[in-house]
Symmetry: C2
Subunit: 424 residues, 2 copies
């Protein structure tokens, strides 16, 4: 098996036994970048010399930790002290922060090597860059973690950071046919992330397998006990088509139902589990929270660099700046009330299973696709994991999403790992 | 009345009527800095020419907003694009971030002029700089918002930002005899703040009066409806000596009881309101949350600049890095459970009243004082307001603290304003 085809977990094993050197691993992935990225545009910055220098230092010294010698891609909404951090906007062209983001610094302490920065949409919001879907370059890779999803899918890196405020990890991972993991809200520190919405922004990862995703999150939290993926045998799953089922494409809906059949056939117990009306009414409050907070987070840029912000984002910022505080406060209350009652609906299942996106990655690069199957789950703060489930009629992948209660990451990852095998 | 003796609210009125120019106001406060700061060391950076240039621009144009022409001090844990941002550590000497912190950018959009940066302890934690208490230079001004408290108390600026993770706004404000306001957790954006603990860090203000504090918070959130200070006539107050009453100095306890007597005499209804046992047991979980999170937030500095971090902070960081995730998660759960039950204990009162600190500002500059009267309230996420209450035997001020439920800022400010007058 070629190096770039190995899972991160397999690479970690071989690196820790010195059966592979960090330099060999880094060179293998740099070669993949050289071969694929002219077409895919997944990276905003790759410093091959820096990566190789770090790899050599890694090979020369003692084992550093559980991520020893593993290359990682860093979404360009996260700061890095030795690579530009441009947040997907011309405002920060060439910007070089003073410190690494906390997750990056922690992963480096655990032995990871930063290969480069991956493309983000403008401030991790709507406006895409030019990254294409590795499975069909005429289709979007999804966003906002566009570059991380494309880079992992094309095996230019074993895993990479993403962030999710609406659907920015799960959707691109599903569109590109890889695993996405948005941990419970608050699991990974946001120090050194360019914030958009403090109530929603969550740091997570995109990887080639559920185990690899769990490995990177644990290393990024300096806590390998977070790596725990519970062993879940024949899970009990709550089948939740969700309040936004009407957004599903015909093909997406068919593929989801077929995937659910395969899960049942493999031994999962499936129980219908739609959420009550108050959850269906969460989208308007969610938009209020996002818009209010983004107007504050980006107030410096809105004041000083207005002409270089895209019109749709500027519209959000201006709407948020004008919003009465009471509207925002009541939206937070509604969301919090739903979060508190969510446990009642998940008590008797290992996880919910729900579509990762409304269908295959849409044609064209103007939009990163529909967020309808993501935004409720991000708001509710629990862990989301997407695993590849099927191919659609356009030949592009579809995912199913496992969702759990905040804090129940190990169980949710366990259910996802079971589903990953059942659907492989 | 001299300009530097006027409240921010009075200055705002005169500036908005153009009875005072922004340049006159800025010059008056710059003169105060010139006269006092050689002794007090409240500022890390003052750019007089920049402040005067901004004031002239303000005077030449249309009214900008509710903070038009008002000078503000910015605690040096918050980023500013045009002034150094050093976070109280030699690691960031001369550091110049690319953007203003969100609260600063919003206040500037509302017309505020940044006079300079105020001293913070190391990363807003324990290690003090050389700021002294304006009322007696042999005593600490408190911390971590040391410079902001000293600058406001010495009328070198009408108000200034602080941040509170344990007791960093309320305690220094009380020690320096001014008003401190830590809004409900999440009220002001933390974008552009050097984070320590995402579950605790709160941006707030230090000011000369309750009205002034509310004015700066509202301007910093771009929402003047936040300025609302409810009119509270003869409040009903829950007298809470708190689980940490044993930390009170004899003189502090006496002064607090005397202040409570004066509140009662002025017409407040006081009901004893101690919190149940589960609240008394919150300090260990609080430490776990703080230590776990600070180890992640400062992982870059711990990895790259270890020798320039103070020994006590390094000890915290190392303890946090080693802490099992489950210990952190259970601490978050304990805190959250208490937050949910807090409403039961505050339903029938306008606010709790509790000491702002254990006594007068201690002698010496080695420590910023005891946080025992602050840390529970910060953890519980509700608004805290300290108002000057008395002078102790050393001639230094003591404050009383009004505390309310998260979101009940207007009512808590109203009770504080009533107490401010009753104790004046």
């Amino acid at each position: 098996m070629k190096i770039h085809e190995m899972t991160a977990s397999e690479l970690a094993r071989r690196l820790s036994r010195r059966e592979l050197s960090a330099l060999e691993v880094v060179d293998a992935f740099l070669a993949r970048i050289g071969a694929r990225d002219d077409e895919l545009h997944a990276w905003t910055a790759v410093d091959a010399e820096l990566a190789r220098r770090q790899a050599r230092a890694c090979d020369a010294g003692a084992l550093r930790g559980p991520l020893h010698g593993l290359p990682v891609g860093v979404k360009d909404i996260l700061d890095t002290a030795d690579l530009p951090s441009e947040y997907g906007t011309p405002i920060y062209l060439g910007h070089r922060p003073a410190a690494d983001a906390a997750c990056v610094a922690s992963a480096r302490a655990a032995g990871a090597l930063v290969l480069g920065k991956t493309v983000t949409t403008e401030f991790a919001t709507m406006k895409p860059a030019d990254t294409v879907n590795p499975l069909n370059p005429r289709h979007t890779p999804g966003g906002s973690s566009s570059g991380s999803a494309a880079a992992v899918a094309a095996r230019m890196v074993p895993f990479a950071y993403g962030t999710q405020t609406v659907g920015s990890i799960i959707r691109p991972a599903a569109y590109c046919g890889v695993v996405g993991y948005k941990p419970s809200f608050g699991t990974l520190s946001r120090a050194g992330m360019k914030l958009a919405s403090e109530s929603l922004d969550t740091v997570g990862v995109i990887a080639g397998s559920v185990d690899d995703a769990a490995l990177l999150v644990a290393g990024s939290a300096i806590r390998m006990d977070l790596r725990a993926v519970e062993t879940v045998g024949k899970p009990r799953l709550g089948l939740c088509r969700s309040p936004n089922w009407s957004y599903m494409t015909k093909e997406g809906a068919q593929a989801f139902e077929a995937a659910v059949q395969r899960l049942a056939k493999a031994g999962a117990t499936l129980v219908e589990r739609e959420l009550p009306q108050e959850f269906n009414e969460l989208d308007a409050p969610r938009v209020r929270i996002l818009v209010y907070e983004i107007a504050r987070s980006l107030s410096h840029e809105a004041g000083r660099h207005r002409a270089r912000i895209s019109a749709p984002l500027l519209e959000l910022i201006d709407a948020g700046a004008k919003m009465p505080y009471a509207d925002y406060a009541s939206a937070l209350e509604h969301a919090d009330a739903c979060r508190r009652r969510l446990a009642d609906h998940l008590r008797d299942v290992d996880a919910l299973v729900t579509p990762s996106a409304t269908g295959e990655a849409p044609l064209g690069l103007q939009s990163t696709g529909e967020t309808a199957m993501n935004r409720l789950w991000t708001l509710l703060h629990g862990p989301c994991v997407t695993v590849p489930a099927a191919r659609g009629p356009a030949g592009l992948p579809l995912g199913v999403q496992l969702y759990g209660l905040p804090g129940a990451d190990a169980r949710t990852l366990g259910a996802a790992k079971w589903a990953e095998r059942a659907l492989a």
